[in-house]
Symmetry: C2
Amino acid sequence: MSALIVAGGTVSDELLVQEAKHADCIIAADRGLEALERIERYPHIIVGDFDSASGETIAHLEQYASQGVRVVRLIPEKDDTDTEAALQLAFAHSTGDIVILGGTGSRLDHVLGNISILGQGLERGRRVFLEDTHNRIRIINSNITLHRKNLYGPYISLFPYGDRAVGVTLQGFKYPLEQATMEGFTSLGVSNELVDETGEIHIKQGALIVIEARD
Amino acid sequence: MSALIVAGGTVSDELLVQEAKHADCIIAADRGLEALERIERYPHIIVGDFDSASGETIAHLEQYASQGVRVVRLIPEKDDTDTEAALQLAFAHSTGDIVILGGTGSRLDHVLGNISILGQGLERGRRVFLEDTHNRIRIINSNITLHRKNLYGPYISLFPYGDRAVGVTLQGFKYPLEQATMEGFTSLGVSNELVDETGEIHIKQGALIVIEARD
């Protein structure tokens, strides 16, 4: 049972339609509701403080509630973001992969904040993806295999998440690594590519941000 | 003596014209040259492997060189990026602030890579800014004062850079902090705001990514 979170950043209608097809549970975070309205798709849950939503959207909330959509209103002054609250709901209401759309856009503080919350899946053993039309971002703390035919785009970049990533080995990549330690932010892992049909990313300690990208 | 680096990501002509006015040394990194050509401004230095430049641009390189522009061609298979090479040239050819335009855009791997290289200014005691029309990003490892009238936008977000930031104190902010430790990626510091005319960011150990943002 997978979940789709639609947040208030830039959302491609085409990508949204495609992801909504596969999702068992759709959660609108704040202005993400407007993207779902554009493609005329009902969410199962709506969450947000709606401090940036249009008056029209607010008026719709009661109507949504009357039609069985669960509406969770947050207080505007809070430490965590609407997307973070949506992620907590996704953990509770689904058991499979979670995809976040609308978590990227022109505000880079939001983008970094949304990349950060991907790490919350690690302790739960859940895969959480942040996606837009150019990027698919995940955080891993154990070995994964990438298949070239399923890649989001030709470029694969790795950044340490948090303290450091230790024992990073890349096989099947243009620029392989062998038991490398990646610390802090670094541009060491930017724009790698697969040369084999599959690529192995091994990690011994810590966690890695993995970005598959296309131009 | 300040420097401006124009990289190959999204560049606003308006912002470019404005920043080029103040820069004593203008460095075009790879396709950043095309942005400068749009505003009909000559760089002092051109650097890149030009693996993604148009044939027309390549043809122009010799012409640029004949007119006194220094052209630095990098080998395409290299560990550091064109922007990173441009930054090294900026350190060597200027003594003041360095602004990077065109270091952001839809490829989030490039964005994270470019945020990472801002840290290279720290050991040299140089301020390096990554700017676009929505964000001004810097990395600090010592106390700074922000003046409300000079802010890039109303939102100020803080993320630890590298290992951790220790002893983070915020004064004059809507959400103050007192001797906080920020570790790894966290959304703790997203979207703060100034409430006073000036804001103080104090840090005892480590470094912070500071993002000033506007919608």
